[in-house]
Subunit: 390 residues, 2 copies
C-alpha cells in the first residue's frame, strides 16, 4: 500500500517530521475515533449493565488476543499491564528470591528498571551488577560469561538498547541462560511493533503499545513463559486475577490474568486494536520491519557523510533507532533546534546522544529533511540562531 | 441548581434508572468531550513535543491537585493509581514487614484486598485475621479491642462497607490505632465522592475516581500520611517516581509521586477533572452529601414498607448504599429482573444482597420506580415472567 495514503490516517504526521516513535508513537484517527465511540457507547448501555459487562469481557479478550499476536504467543501467556516498567515490576517482585541471589543487567537498561532492581535488592538482600553490552565490541555471550556469578538467578536485558539501538541476540542469550538455570527478563519497549518477535528461550518479555505500535499511552503487555506462570507470585494483585478462595488461600486465574489488578480503561484496548489493524492493513510485521530497516540504514549512511557527527552504532541499525552525537551541540540543544524546524527526535541522556526513531511510516523525504537540518546546524547556517552553540 | 438540569449532562441517566454508582458512575458529556479533545490536541502538537510534554506535566499537576481537594489533603500526599486496589497493594507491599507481624481486616473487605493480604502474608511470614464489623451490633472499638493482637501492625478497613453500607467511625478508629502504634489503611471506594472526607488519624487512604466521582475507569488515588511517605518503600515503581541515583541507590521523589510507575493515560485525568468541576457547579461536597443521604433515607424508609424485604442496615444509611434481600429472589435474579425494567442496581455476593446506590444525581422518581418494581416482583405481578421465581 502507498505509504502516503497510510500516513493520512495519522494527524501528527501531517505537518511534522515525526521521528520519535521510540518516545511515543502518534495515534491514528481510527484509534481516536474508536476510543471516543467506546466512551459514548458505554453511556448508552450504562456502566455495569449486562451489555456493558459483556463488552468489557469482549475487550479484555480482544486486547489480550491482539497483544498475543504481536508477540507470537498464546493469549493465556499474556498479562495486560499499564507500561513496560510495570511488566518488569510484576516479574521482579513476583520471583521467589532468596537472600544472596544475584541479578545481572546490561549497562543500558532504563533507569526505571534499574531503580526497581536496586530497591528489590535492598528489600530481599540480593546483589546486582551490570555488564557492558551498550557498545558491544566483543561477542555478547563472551561478555555475559565473564559477568555471571554462581548466584546469578536472573538476567535483565533490553531486546533493543534504547540509546544505541543495538539489538541483542535473544536466541543465543536464551540458550546461555537455560544452560545455567538463569531466568531471562527482556525489556521490549523498543522492539514491539518494530520487528517480528520470537520469544523462544525468553522467560519474561515486557513491552508497551504506545510506542512503535502507535496505541494510546497506558496499555502494556507482559509475556510469562507458561512454565513460570504459577511459580511467579502475584504481588500487586487484585480481583481481576482472582477466582476465589480455598481455605482462606486465594485461587488465582490459571492464565496471565492472575497478575492483573483491578478496574482499567478498556477504551485504551479498543484504541490499540484499531492501531494494529491499520498497521496490518499496510503490511505484515515482516514487511513493515523490512521497510523500517531499509530507511534506518539509509539514514545511518547519510549521517556518516556529515562531518563532526558520530553515529553510535558501527553498522546500519537492525531496528528503528539511529543515534548520534554532533560536535558543538549537546543532545538536548540539538533536539530543541530540530524541533524548532518541525523535526521531532529525542535526546537520550543515557547515551549522551540524539536519537531519531525510524518507523515504516517514515518517508525518504523526512530523512532528507533531518540530514539537511543537521548539515545546516553543523555548518552554522542555522537561520534560527546564526551561529552554532559552543 | 436544578437536578434535572444537572442530569442532562449525563447520557446514561437519560433513559435509565441508574442506581449503580457504587459499581461505576456514569461519565458526563463534558468528561467525554474533554478526553476526546485531549487525544486530538495531543496529535496536533505531536507526542513528546515540548508543548505535549508541558501538557503532561500540567495534567499531572492538575489531576493530583484535583484528587487532593476531594480528600482535603495536600497534593504532595497524593499518589496517583489505576484503582482502589492498586492503592492497597502499594501500601501493603511497601510496608517493611517483619515475620510474625499480624494484619487485622474487617469481615467485609473486598476480595481483591483480602487476596492481596493473604498473598503478602504467605510471602513475608505474616498472619492475618478478620473481625466482625459488617453487621455491627456492638461498638466498633469494642470489637477491635477484642480482635487486635500484640503483633498487630496494620488495620485494613473500608470507610464504608461495600455490601451493608455501614460507615465506620474513622476518627475513633484512628485514635484507637494511634494508641497502639497500629497503622490504619482505609479503603475509600464507597466514600470518595459521597461525603466530605477528613482523613485525620488515617495513615493510608485509597479510592477511585470512577465510582461516585463519575470519572473514567482506570484512575485512582492513594493518600499517604507524610509521616510514612519515606518509610513506605517503593515496590512496583519506575521512572515516574525516580529523581536519579546516588551511588547506585535510587533517589525517589520526595512526594507521593515516588510510588507511581511509568507512562499513563493523562487523558483520564482530564476526564476526571471535568466530572468534578461539574459536581462542584451543582454544590459543595457537603450539599451533595446532604441530598444523597436524604434520598437514601427515603428509599430505606420506603423499602421498610415492602413485605418480605429485609434491609441490611437497621438505620437509614449515612451513605449512598441501600442494600436489601427480598424473599423468593436471589440477589442476582433480582438485579436481572430490575435491569429488564431499566433499573440498574447490583447484586453483591459478599452480602448476599441487592444494592441500590443513591447519588445526589438520583431523583425521587427513581426511588419510586425502584420501590414500585420491587412491589410488583414481590407480588408476582411481574409482567416479564408472570410468577416470582421460587
Amino acid at each position: 500500500m502507498d505509504i502516503a495514503e497510510q500516513r493520512r490516517h495519522f494527524p501528527a504526521l501531517q505537518d511534522k517530521t515525526y521521528l520519535n516513535f521510540g518516545g511515543q508513537g502518534p495515534l491514528p484517527t481510527p484509534a481516536i475515533t474508536a476510543i471516543c465511540a467506546a466512551y459514548e457507547q458505554g453511556q448508552v448501555w450504562g456502566p455495569f449493565s449486562r451489555r456493558a459487562l459483556d463488552w468489557v469481557a469482549e475487550q479484555e479478550h480482544l486486547t489480550r488476543a491482539t497483544l498475543a499476536t504481536t508477540l507470537n504467543v498464546a493469549a493465556a501467556d499474556i498479562t495486560l499491564t499499564q507500561s513496560t516498567t510495570q511488566g518488569c515490576t510484576i516479574v521482579l517482585w513476583g520471583w521467589p528470591w532468596q537472600a544472596g541471589d544475584h541479578l545481572l543487567l546490561s549497562d543500558g537498561e532504563h533507569p526505571g528498571v534499574v531503580a526497581t532492581v536496586a530497591q528489590l535488592a535492598q528489600r530481599f538482600g540480593l546483589t546486582w551488577s551490570t555488564c557492558p553490552l551498550s557498545y558491544c565490541t566483543e561477542d555478547t555471550i563472551t561478555i555475559l560469561e565473564q559477568a555471571v556469578q554462581p548466584q546469578t538467578r536472573m538476567l535483565v536485558l533490553s531486546h533493543i538498547l534504547w540509546h544505541t539501538g543495538e539489538v541483542l541476540p535473544l536466541a543465543e542469550i536464551g540458550a546461555f541462560c537455560a544452560q545455567r538455570d538463569i531466568k531471562l527478563l527482556i525489556d521490549g519497549a523498543q522492539s514491539l511493533g518494530v520487528m517480528p518477535l520470537d520469544v523462544t528461550g525468553v522467560d519474561f518479555y515486557t513491552a508497551t503499545g504506545h510506542k512503535w505500535l502507535c496505541g494510546p499511552a497506558g496499555l502494556g503487555v507482559l509475556y510469562i513463559h507458561p512454565q513460570y506462570r504459577e511459580y511467579l507470585q502475584p504481588t500487586h494483585c487484585g480481583w481481576r486475577g482472582l477466582q476465589g478462595f480455598t481455605y482462606q488461600q486465594p485461587q488465582w486465574s490459571p492464565d496471565g490474568q492472575r497478575h492483573e489488578i483491578a478496574t482499567t480503561a478498556w477504551e485504551l484496548g479498543v484504541g490499540l486494536q484499531a492501531s494494529l489493524t491499520l498497521h496490518q492493513s499496510w503490511g505484515t510485521a515482516t514487511q513493515r520491519y523490512g521497510r523500517l530497516t531499509q530507511l534506518a540504514a539509509e539514514l545511518w549512511t547519510q549521517l556518516g557523510e556529515i562531518p563532526h557527527l558520530m553515529r553510535l552504532l558501527p553498522h546500519p541499525p537492525p531496528c528503528g533507532l539511529v543515534s548520534f552525537r554532533m560536535a558543538n551541540y549537546s543532545p538536548e540543544t540539538l533536539a530543541q533546534k530540530l524541533e524548532q524546524r518541525g523535526i521531532l527526535v529525542r535526546a537520550v541522556a543515557a547515551g549522551n546522544c540524539t536519537r531519531a526513531s525510524i518507523h515504516y511510516l517514515t518517508t525518504g523525504e523526512e530523512l532528507t529533511q533531518l540530514v539537511q537540518a543537521l548539515r545546516e546546524l553543523q555548518g552554522g547556517t542555522d537561520p534560527h540562531v546564526g551561529t552554532p552553540e559552543k
